[in-house]
Chain length 341, copies 2
DNA sequence: GTGAAAGCGCTAACAG
DNA sequence: CTGTTAGCGCTTTCAC
């Protein structure tokens, strides 16, 4: 009944036991060397390293996860990967996580609240933590996610009532500045294009724009969304409103508007001013270049990973990081035409 | 020395044994029910299901992976996530994989060949398969990846010498049609803007454009890349070449060119025609809308997943799917100005 | 500083 | 059809 044991596992995959056998040490020692543990004599460390190299051994990550209880995987859930807004964000987190030995499982809820919940729960089950980008779910759902006891991070949405770490770009002040700028140019009839219904940012931006009424500006609200197509389709309604300036929820919608106006021979900004939000790369490559708000997505990504990483290492949750956005004045805005002042 | 055993594991996580105990069956039966195995009596199936539901049990995916040898994870490696080209692709694969119970680990090599190799190897170690999107690596490296014995799929690059499954959109015929169309409009001096150095598509497209010389068209080659910025920066060189038509490697570069020309007061297409490739959403929202080639990325994504899925279930590798692209004529192309014919 | 051994939670023979 | 049991490959006490 003694083990069969020469230590060499049959089959094709090299295990830690093969290395142990080759280096004439125990598997525990190999494991320690691989983990970079200090309490191994330099001589053994070298011997193990040499065996690992010569044999071409690679640890089996799943076995490692099962034994250690950590997967070194983090979920990243976005409402819509096709939205330019998430590029820089995901990309930056991908690289930072990679650097720290973590990998991201990306999922896309397609703006579907039910899918968001399901995906969130499932992701959390197979990862060490979850990053929710602009989640649309109700607070109750977010709370459930927290109950799993794993680190959860919410990006670009402020949830006051929850002990969850959050990283957000503050829309309100920048949008307020932008709106003020437009009013100062002399515009008195403005159209605001709302973003996705459940978007926190959309509510924040609207909250800022609404203040213009205090200055006697007339605001027409139009439900549009976050795509170029939607912006483009909104043009007739914009024209009907007789607005001389259009404040869009984001750059995408703004681009759709600019193109739609241009197609109809309406000059931007001479006849109608248009502003966006986010400062996506395309906003500089519209004619005319878009007046917008720079939202530091890269920074959100890098802070987000830093916070998540800290939490994975035991930091307590609930930190809140607020980053500022700032208006970028380009050429899609100008004073309204003389006859409409 | 008998097991301590009331079956209830201590600690907070519910295991399959808790369910087995609750339903008064063996763990094997629970496992079978969870796997949807046919050979369990309906009565037990129901009892187990009920216990699972009541207890709120969820299988531990890592343990499952270790025991079964399958992770239900697939790697997806792209050269640059910030390139619009990969949106539809990744997004579609994400959803199709999700539907089949798989999850994607997305990685971005940042157009770095070394990183690509590293990431590829690492991903393959922790997943059941790997999808390489437009890989830039040398054939030798791809072969190494295949040697791991796991399914590997190459997208948007044809590698003749390798027994690896491939899904590609054929650039050559469509680019040839587009080039012919431009020549037929009467253009005799054309500039071609090359894409990323190691891109297979870039070589294919150039191979097609080059044929114009046979028709006596004068071609100026300019190394540009795949971004709007790069296209924009290339404008002075384009003007120096005195070309009346610009064929860009992709839409992004083309957009940069259109904007750059417009800024200098050069009218597109009256004075200079410009074409792109890919038909990204933005190409319809440029002024003027871009003449380009529709590359069916969504279809690539869905076929890609189908092939990967088949391979995961034992299909033999080496299939090759070629999808067609087709020119989309919009308004950025026209006959050259009279005086330059 | 090092090794032996007990699991991590599940699947998959194998026996009945 | 159902149960028993031996691992999957690694980490991590616990002794020495």
């Amino acid at each position: 009944m003694t083990p069969t044991g020469d230590g060499r596992t049959t089959g094709d995959r090299l295990t830690i036991r093969d290395v142990a056998h080759d280096a004439q040490v125990s598997v525990a020692t190999v494991s320690r060397v691989l983990a970079g543990s200090a309490s191994v004599s330099p001589a053994l460390v070298e011997r193990v390293r040499e065996s690992v190299r010569r044999l071409g051994y690679t640890p089996h990550s799943v076995a490692r996860s099962l034994a250690s209880g950590r997967t070194r995987l983090v979920g990243a859930l976005v409402p819509n990967l096709a939205n330019h807004y998430f590029y820089a964000l995901i990309k930056r987190m991908l690289h930072d996580a990679e650097r720290d030995g973590y990998r991201l499982i990306v999922a896309d809820s397609d703006e579907n609240v039910v899918a968001e919940r399901e995906l969130g729960v499932n992701l959390l089950h197979q990862t060490d933590g979850l990053i929710l980008c602009s989640p649309r779910a109700r607070v109750g759902v977010l709370r459930q996610l927290l109950d799993h006891g794993k680190p959860v991070l919410v990006l670009n949405r402020l949830v006051d009532s929850l002990p969850v770490s959050q990283v957000v770009v503050e829309s309100y002040p920048a949008m307020r500045q932008l709106a003020t700028y437009v009013a100062d140019l002399g515009h008195r009839r403005v159209a605001y294009l709302h973003g996705p219904a459940r978007s926190w940012h959309s509510r924040e931006r609207w909250r800022a724009v609404r203040l213009l009424t205090r200055r006697g500006v007339d605001i027409t609200e139009i439900r549009v969304g976050a795509t170029m197509d939607a912006g483009h389709r909104a043009v007739p309604q914009i024209l009907r409103s007789d607005a001389t300036a259009v404040l869009a929820y984001n750059d995408l919608a703004a681009i759709g508007v600019v193109v739609g106006l241009t197609e109809r021979g309406i000059r931007v900004p001479q006849e109608v001013s248009v502003t966006g939000f986010d400062d996506i790369p395309h906003s500089r490559f519209v004619t005319p270049p878009l007046t917008t708000v720079r939202s530091p997505q890269e920074e959100v990504g890098s802070v987000a990973w830093k916070v998540m990483s800290g939490q994975l290492h035991g930091d307590s949750p609930g930190t809140r990081t607020v980053l500022a956005a700032e208006p970028v004045i380009r050429n899609s805005t100008a004073a309204p035409p003389e006859n409409s002042r």
